[in-house]
Point group: C2
Chain length 222, copies 2
Amino acid sequence: MTQDMQRTPSQVCVFRRHEFLARADERKDCVLRIEEGWAAQYRLLPDGRRQIITLFLPGDYCEPQWLLQGRATLPIVALTRVRARLLPHRSIQARAPHEEDSMTRVLDAVLALLRNREKWIFNLGRMTATERLCNLICELHSRMAARNCVAVQDRYCMPLTQYDLADIVGISPVHVNRVLQNLRSDGLLELRNRWMQVLDMVQLKRLGEIMPGQGEHVPRAA
Amino acid sequence: MTQDMQRTPSQVCVFRRHEFLARADERKDCVLRIEEGWAAQYRLLPDGRRQIITLFLPGDYCEPQWLLQGRATLPIVALTRVRARLLPHRSIQARAPHEEDSMTRVLDAVLALLRNREKWIFNLGRMTATERLCNLICELHSRMAARNCVAVQDRYCMPLTQYDLADIVGISPVHVNRVLQNLRSDGLLELRNRWMQVLDMVQLKRLGEIMPGQGEHVPRAA
DNA sequence: CGTATCGTTGATCTAGTTCAATAAGCGTGG
DNA sequence: CCACGCTTATTGAACTAGATCAACGATACG
């Protein structure tokens, strides 16, 4: 598919599930804008441990920093069928600051990525399994909502398997299942057949969202 | 100290231990370059849980992304006495690409930050306590080495308390202590009075460093 | 309609937490 | 110089969140 990308600059291209959008250390002269489907960037250990580092949803730039570094660092795989538009670096640089897919927009996406990683470092370091999952669900909801991908009654398509979820929040798949059971039985959400329905966003946020709590005092362990 | 910063653009300024280099949401028209001392960016929960997100060492740009977003997101505190040079955005933009403290250099630092966070998301999500600590020690060693701050025999000044270490690697201070005991008794390192001496870097790397292992197969939980 | 993937459940185990107490450093003022 | 108070390091004992193992049921899909 790399070949396709070379042949058809500024075009749309499609990846089947499990196909790679990027491989480690691959050269990149385009940024992708996901138009449909979900993709994930991950790191894998020889012993099988996997951690998903970044999730790409419809509307996201897939690796905006490629614009600056011209190279992928980690593999990116399609979690569903993915349709993406290729944005050659040149065409991005050519656009006026306030246009769609301009330099400014792409750099903003880099900053957003950086902030999102702040959040996940915190999550993985200091939140419980339930908190992490709630947090993820809220994040997905708000990102999907921002792209107008949430239907009535807070329903949205959530194609991640419980294995995927486990590899995002850094827990085991079995435990993901158990936490989801709890959230379901507490009436916070419904999740079946790749459709997520948030039933009690307030409570979900309370369980998962990180409080502002930017302590002004000297930081020290509790 | 914000006042000092306004009054003396392009100057050096000094922070005592526990003083803030930045507060959440503060406006920033300078990037700092740390000349001496260590600082940390962290997030704190009302219940006392703290996670250090970024560590700034001598030679590092402290929050290069301020150049792009003009604003801090999280508090940054001095872990030791810190001396830092103020680099106003204007002066950075004025420099030629290959100069010290040019736009290019600062953007490279943003990219490095992004990659370092990839690594830590992986660490926190999928590595054991021992692996995380070894990994951190190796990272500190190589960052200090890059700044010529490592003396003979792999000795370097490591001012982090065990509480700090705990809040970086996302485990409890007590457990940090125990893991360090193990590493000491295995003859991998020496650590006393804020001085770290790495005795067996090879073994330490093996325990902590992330193998390339970029699996080419379909990612799935082990 | 058979086969691989995905979800669910129970039982057992363990890495790491929490609590609590003590010891060792270390700066500061008298 | 010493005494005091505070921070940091160390250790043990009890506990728990979450992992691991294993089996089985449900889906989906070619």
